[in-house]
């Protein structure tokens, strides 16, 4: 249970530190904040030590709490030797780092932020190592990437910090995605994300054909995290972070997460050819690249960073070898590395802060000014070099031993020993260098602070502790191994292994020779450094950060270009795409379908019909031919509309004829209103190729529609309409079935339809109100004549037309339920009659004579229609249930009352108001600052 606490405590700590920072900002409080931040890790450490006995009994403590079983994501914790080892490293070194930071950040008010983030990070790390559920582990995995991003960008004012942070996030984040994929696959293969189950399912996993992919993805995650070549590039640039961060995240803990993962999954996925090849090769390359580049680094942290990379490679290599002993060596070296690399970083930090530089070409002979630091540094440096009696010596020797034991495959047998020896040689060289170059090697060269600033001695405590730890490991390896590492190794092997025999290791001859070679070679190499540096300087300077940034920038530019190519603001292009998308699949589908001609027999051709069809087509084609001269095009368009109307009228659709007719005229008037602001002609601007493209598109579209129409028309019709014809009178109370459908059977459609009309009008109002056109778009101004605006004769007649038109519209409205007509058409007739007044008498003149609040009228219309619908609730029927009654009252005679009529009234009101609102607003565009009432 309290394993959860292990993870949860640092969160509390982080929150506490955050609050403390809010409460007491400013540098004076750094010590208190540090003390506060120390609590959580310390407690965790103690808890862990408390677990030791149970761990030593070899049991794996597992505690599971269900979270999202649906995706197999549980809050599951696991504490076994491996996780215990890592947890101890994380918390232990964490404590020391915090102590170190207390001095490092002394007098900086960024300290608070550091303490918050470092504890968050601790949470993440503990989460990784203590998770039993792989998905759950992934949560923390990503969290480490994120916190690391924030910590590398800690000093965000510097460009390097920002870039380094982004680089690490992109690389490790990408790795995280790969890992997600890998883990999901693994989960699918095993059927669970619980590590226990996975470790138990080794055979299923390795025999599954998705194994290679799974392994590759998981290793991608691990390699990116642990800075394995070629993903190591981010680590050196992570050195932009403050030294405590580098020491903790980028040497001791986070970069070990990948190694942890490999070690953790080794029993499940290990000992296969693929595993060996992928990991050992990566490890070897990383080992060598790191060691070599480190040699030539002048920046202390840079050198340490590359040496870290090299050591990570080393451990990876060992893990790749896969034998228990190799694993033992790996984990042993992992501990050693943590113990000697952290203090070296701390040393670098102190040197940096006191002298103000990290360049080893300037920093020399510090032994005079900081002897204590020098004395402490001897141990970790020696350990890193792998001098006898040092922890590093043993781990190196273990490595050599293992390298000799590698049997299969052939190439590795000889290559690996040589390889590791050379790498060892380099490591000796750079270890010697960092020590000698910093503390001896003559006089310092123009350092920013000389003599160096004083730092409180307390800052050395964490170094001292770590150094002594390192020394202890070197002197008493067996004890260290037995207490710390052995449990971990057993955990990775899932069995209690025999203890590692260091006595035997001491006997081993060949490894001893190899390390001797490495040491001597390293020393010689170091002595010959200056000519080598000279050569190295000749080599072209490669800055990974710049390469990365450049590639990123190029990708972005490429993306931009591509996007702009596609999304280039050409409406016609988009429309062409859409048409192609519509035509291509449909035709593709219909290519195979030969029987266009359906079974039912054709109706006879009649002359009038053909005549109408021909004229319809001619007028449509005419519109195309004339579309450059806009007004004639409009005339032809209205001819088309007229013949559509005639078609409706001929084929038994009087309602449609009426509607089409009224709509057509209103549309034409609106278009002309707009046209008076637009150019009167369209220039001929599309080239021949374009015209051909469009013509073929148009032709294809037309053919498609024609084929569809023919195919459907020649097939028998079996529709639900019988019901409407049968129920229109008894159920809907009207003989005009179309109208009954509109106001009753499908009244809901009509409600939506008038809403559309209303919205359109309101929208037009909304976006024309601030649009006052002083000048027209183009040379249509010439049209504006001196003729009187409102010819008397036109006025007189149109005024007389109005009342008649109103009567007619009343008639059309009232009979609509039984004969062609209805609210919509009546509304349009009214609107048209009033439009005529606009045209004849002028907007202002007409506005004075009528109520011009169209928007509320639209609202009213919609509300009337809706209210009619709601009314039926009170009689217990659903929305829009119609009710009607045929009355035959004594005096009045026969008449009918129908709620449908009320609904139609709503339609009528909306239509009138909407149409006039649009026209009025278009009309007022010209009247500068519109006289009379506001239109709408």
């Amino acid at each position: 249970m309290d394993m959860g606490l292990l993870i949860f405590l640092p969160v509390l700590g982080a929150i506490a530190s955050f609050l403390a920072r809010l409460k007491q900002p400013g540098p004076d409080y750094v010590p208190t904040h540090a003390l506060l931040a120390l609590i959580a890790p310390a407690v965790c450490l103690l808890l862990l030590l408390g677990y030791l006995p149970r761990i030593q009994s070899g049991e794996a403590l597992v505690y599971t709490l269900s979270w999202i079983p649906g995706i197999g994501l549980d809050l599951a914790f696991r504490l076994d030797g491996l996780s215990w080892l890592f947890a101890v490293l994380i918390t232990g070194i964490g404590c020391l780092i915090i102590i170190y930071a207390r001095y490092y950040f002394a007098g900086k008010d960024t300290a608070g932020r550091f303490f918050v983030l470092i504890q968050l990070f601790m949470t993440a790390m503990l989460g990784i190592v203590l998770s039993e559920n792989l998905l759950f582990m992934l949560v923390f995995w990503e969290l480490t990437s994120l916190v690391s991003f924030l910590l590398i960008g800690f000093t965000w004012t510097s460009r390097g910090a920002r870039r380094g942070a982004r680089m690490s996030l992109v690389i490790t984040g990408g790795g995280g995605l790969a890992l997600l994929g890998g883990i999901l696959l693994l989960g699918q293969i095993v059927g669970s994300y619980q590590i226990t189950d996975i470790l138990a399912a080794a055979d299923t996993i390795t025999s599954d054909d998705r194994y290679p992919l799974t392994l590759t993805l998981i290793l991608l995650g691990a390699f990116t995290k642990s800075a394995q070549a070629p993903f190591h590039l981010w680590l050196p640039h992570a050195m932009a972070a403050p030294t405590p961060v580098s020491a903790y995240l980028h040497s001791a803990t986070m970069v070990k997460a990948g190694l942890f993962l490999m070690a953790r999954l080794h029993p499940a996925m290990g000992d296969t050819e693929l595993w060996f090849t992928l990991i050992t090769i990566t490890g070897m390359i990383t080992l060598m690249v790191g060691a070599f580049v480190a040699m030539f680094m002048h920046d202390i942290k840079g050198l340490l960073a590359y040496s870290t990379i090299s050591h990570l490679g080393l451990i990876t290599l060992l893990i790749g070898m896969g034998s228990e002993m190799a694993m033992a060596a790996a984990l042993f070296h992992l501990v050693c590395h943590a113990l000697f690399k952290a203090p070296l970083f701390m040393m670098a930090g102190i040197v940096d802060q006191t002298t103000g530089s990290r360049d080893m070409r300037n920093i020399n002979g510090l032994w005079k000014t900081m002897p204590a630091l020098m004395l402490i540094t001897i141990i970790p440096a020696a350990a890193m070099a792998g001098l006898p009696l040092m922890s590093g010596y043993l781990s190196k020797k273990m490595l050599f031993t293992e390298s000799l034991l590698v049997s299969a495959p052939g190439w590795a047998e000889t290559l690996i020993p040589v390889w590791v020896t050379i790498a060892g040689l380099f490591s000796v060289a750079y270890s010697v260098r960092i020590f000698h170059n910093v503390f001896f090697n003559g006089q310092p060269v123009n350092l920013p602070h000389w003599p160096p600033k004083k730092k409180p001695a307390g800052m050395l405590i964490p170094l001292l502790i770590l150094a002594l730890g390192s020394l202890f490991v070197g002197l008493a390896p067996q004890t260290t191994y037995d207490t710390l590492v052995h449990l971990a190794v057993s955990a990775t092997a899932l069995t209690q292994l025999p203890l590692y025999d260091f006595a035997a290791l001491a006997e081993a001859r060949v490894p001893a020779m190899m390390s001797l070679v490495a040491m001597v070679g390293g020393l010689l190499f170091y002595l010959a450094r200056n000519p080598l540096f000279a050569i190295h300087r000749q080599l072209p300077e490669v800055d990974a950060k710049n390469i990365f940034e450049r590639t990123l920038q190029n990708c972005i530019r490429l993306a931009q270009i591509l996007v702009h190519r596609l999304e280039n603001g050409s409406l016609q292009r988009y429309l062409a795409f859409i048409l192609v998308a519509a035509i291509a699949p449909a035709l593709w589908m219909l290519i195979g379908n030969s029987d266009w001609r359906g079974p039912s027999e054709l109706t006879s051709v009649d002359a009038i019909g053909v005549f109408g069809a021909i004229i319809l087509c001619l007028s449509a084609i005419g519109v195309v031919l004339f579309h450059h001269q806009r007004l004639p095009a409009l005339l032809l368009l209205s001819v088309t509309g007229l013949f559509v109307t005639l078609a409706f009228a001929r084929f038994s659709a009087p309602d449609l004829a009426l509607t089409q007719l009224s709509v057509e005229v209103m549309a034409i008037v609106i278009m002309m209103l707009a046209l008076s602001f637009l150019p009167q002609t369209s220039p001929r601007e599309s080239g021949g190729g374009r015209v051909i493209r469009d013509l073929s598109l148009a032709g294809l579209a037309g053919t498609g529609v024609a084929l569809f129409a023919y195919a459907v028309l020649t097939r028998p019709a079996d529709t639900i309409s019988g019901y409407f014809l049968a129920n229109s009178v008894p159920g809907g109370g009207g003989t005009n079935v179309v109208n009954v459908i509109l106001v009753d059977f499908r009244g809901f459609d009509t409600l939506g339809e008038i809403t559309v009309l209303g919205i359109a009008a309101v929208a037009v109002f909304a976006f024309t109100r601030d649009l006052h056109l002083k000048q027209r778009v183009a040379s249509s101004g010439s049209l504006k004549g001196f003729a009187e605006p409102h010819p008397v004769i036109l006025q007189m007649v149109s005024r007389m037309v109005l009342p008649i038109a109103l009567l007619v519209s009343a008639y059309i409205f009232l009979r609509g339920h039984n004969m062609p007509g209805g609210g919509f058409i009546a509304g349009l007739v009214t609107a048209v009659a009033l439009t005529l007044q606009y045209m004849a008498g002028g907007l202002a003149w007409a506005q004075e004579r009528m109520l011009t609040r169209f928007r509320p009228l639209i609202g009213a219309g919609l509300l009337i229609a809706t209210a009619t619908g709601i009314g039926s609730w009170f009689t217990g029927y659903p929305f829009l249930t119609s009710a009607f009654a045929h009355m035959d009252w004594p005096i009045l005679g026969e008449f009918e009352l129908a709620t449908a009529l009320l609904f139609d009234l709503g339609v009528y009101t909306t239509v009138v108001a909407a149409t006039l609102l649009i026209l009025a607003n278009l009309g007022k565009l010209m009247t500068v600052a519109g006289p009379g009432k506001e239109a709408g």
Binding site: W67, I68, G70, I71, G72, L73, V139, G153, T157, R162, A165, R166, G173, G176, L184, I556, A559, V563, G569, R573, Y574, F577, I578, A582, P585, A586, L590, N593, G598, F708, V712, D718, T719, I720, F724, A726, G731, F745, G747, D749, G752, T755, A763, F765, A766, R769, R855, I858, G859, L862, L863, T866, Y877, P878, F879, L880, S882, A883, A885, A898
Partner: protein
């Protein structure tokens, strides 16, 4: 008949109409009405979710005409979820807009209500032509909202958006015509059964019609190559509008699910939707890729978010094309997540833009900004969720999608594109974050405008939803699992809607007179 069910359509309609009637209302009253109505919508949506949790299908016979003759509304888990999502989203948008962006033009709230009416109608209707009508309602409203506030960028983008959608509507009518001409009905359930029993000679035509519908819905959902209107339109719209538009593409997705899986999917043995799915799959993957590239290439946060929308559409449609029940459930979960987060980002772009000295939400301009820490943290959290990193809903949804798809053929394509686009998103967002909050260095504004708590709270709340969605994912997932299961049992849908109606004794039905009108005499007296 339970009238609560039609409320999601009627309430916004009444509110919108009333706001027009009271066109003189000051902005305060408008806001009050608008917020009140949206709150009501949330309430009714919650009711709908619970109702659908109890009864698989709830029907509403408009005008008391039984389907397929009258229009019927169908409430199931799928539509309920969409209703709730819409309601919540719109609530946040209204709240955000009420902090001032609604004053940029007239009738913002009325138009927004009409938009909601359209969206909810599209989610509820069980009639294909009625779906068309509600599409038009939500479109015309969206046109108006898109242009709200004016400006040439909006005019241009709006013009493209409108015209493209008009072409889309024409295609929709074409498809409707073909379907009606061959099946003689419009009710989705009835269509489904007629299509399932259609003669072989009609099948190619029907499938062609379904392909036309794919284009129509593809335009709404922004499927390649129909999506080029989207980036400009979304980045031109005012923040709350763009945020609301986050649901619009999902309407297209929803329509595809309903039409392709139910109407064309009844015949499980030889489904008529195979052709559509075959076409949908590659197009969706390309859409997804292009979206990722666009995210990387975007030059402002709004554009970036617009491409996020495209990415999400790609994922949704690709998963739909894989045509698997459990995958559908997963992608529905993803839909909820992505809708919230894209909305958050549109609002965030505006929120941060207001506090940057120059450049609003542009990446190219380096400008000091106020409230660096608060906005920065907000952005960071939002970005983590958007990049579907744990512990947010995005992680859960993606994990679920990848898991469920891993059994299906071609899953590697899906994985590659999803994970790849994920990397691109992380890259883009890290650039944005560091560019906005780190790059300006210590430079600060001359005058620090006070933080707009209302707007900030709104955004924070929406992000919190994303977190909550992952913390309490399991119940939601269970709900969606059943929702998807129902979608993949079209027979159940058809039975529920049509009852014992079979086309060829339609006469039996037509002879019986609509019950409501028998006793309508006293209704009118």
């Amino acid at each position: 008949m339970n009238h609560l069910m039609i409320m999601p359509i009627v309430i916004p309609l009444i509110t919108g109409a009333f706001l027009l009637l009271m066109y003189g209302y000051n902005i305060g009253r408008q806001r009050f009405l608008s917020v009140a109505s949206t709150l009501l919508l949330v309430v009714f949506a919650i009711w709908a979710v619970m109702q659908a949790g109890v009864h698989d299908y709830t029907l509403y016979h408009l005008g008391d005409w039984q389907p397929p003759f009258g229009i019927v509304l169908v409430l199931d888990r799928l539509s309920a979820i969409m209703l709730l999502l819409t309601a919540l989203l719109s609530l946040f948008c209204v709240l955000y807009a009420s902090r001032g962006s609604d004053e940029a033009g007239s009738h913002f709230h009325a138009l927004l209500q009409f938009q909601l009416m359209g969206i909810n109608g599209a989610f509820l209707t069980g009639d294909l032509f009625n779906l068309f009508v509600f599409f038009e309602v939500l479109l015309i409203a969206s046109y108006a909202l898109l242009l709200h506030g004016g400006g040439r960028a909006r005019s241009r983008a709006g013009l493209h958006y409108v015209i493209i959608n008009l072409v889309g509507s024409a295609l929709f009518l074409l498809a409707l015509g073909i379907l009606y001409g061959l099946t003689g009905t419009l009710n989705m359930a009835d269509l489904a059964q007629v299509i399932a029993n259609a003669p072989a000679s009609d099948l190619p035509l029907l499938k062609a019609a379904s392909l036309l519908l794919m284009v129509v819905f593809g335009i709404k959902a922004a499927l390649l190559p129909l999506l080029f209107w989207l980036p400009r339109a979304y980045s031109a719209a005012s923040a709350p509008v763009a945020a609301l538009f986050a649901i619009m593409t999902k309407v297209g997705f929803y329509a595809m699910v309903r039409v392709f899986l139910v109407v064309f999917g009844l015949d499980q043995a030889a489904p008529a939707n195979d052709t559509v799915m075959a076409w949908l799959w590659p197009m969706a993957l390309i859409t997804l890729t292009l979206g990722g590239i666009g995210v990387l290439g975007a030059s402002s946060l709004r554009t970036l978010t617009a491409y996020m929308v495209i990415v999400s559409v790609g994922i949704l449609l690709a998963t739909l094309a894989m045509n698997n029940q459990h995958l559908l459930a997963a992608s529905l979960f993803y839909l909820i997540h992505t809708t919230c987060m894209t909305a958050v980002f549109f609002l965030l772009a505006d929120l941060i833009g207001r506090y940057r000295e120059a450049g609003y939400d542009s990446f190219s301009i380096i400008s000091p900004l106020a409230h660096r820490w608060l906005l920065g943290s907000l952005f960071l959290i939002a970005a983590v969720s958007m990049a579907s990193l744990p512990p947010f809903s995005g992680f859960v949804s993606k994990a679920w999608i990848l898991q469920t798809s891993s059994h299906l053929p071609g899953y590697l394509w899906l994985w590659a594109t999803i994970l790849g686009s994920g990397l691109l998103i992380i890259t883009a967002l890290s650039r944005t974050g560091s560019g906005w909050f780190w790059r300006p260095g210590e430079r600060t504004l001359k005058v620090t405008p006070p933080l707009d708590r209302g707007r900030t709270a709104t955004v924070a709340l929406m992000i919190a939803i994303s977190l909550a969605l992952s913390l309490f994912a399991q119940p939601v997932m269970n709900y969606l699992e059943v929702a998807a299961e129902l979608v993949y049992q079209p027979a159940g849908y058809v039975d529920a809607v049509l009852g014992d109606y079979i086309r060829h004794d339609g006469e039996v039905n037509s002879s019986e007179v609509n019950s409501s009108n028998v006793n309508s005499g006293e209704v009118t007296q």
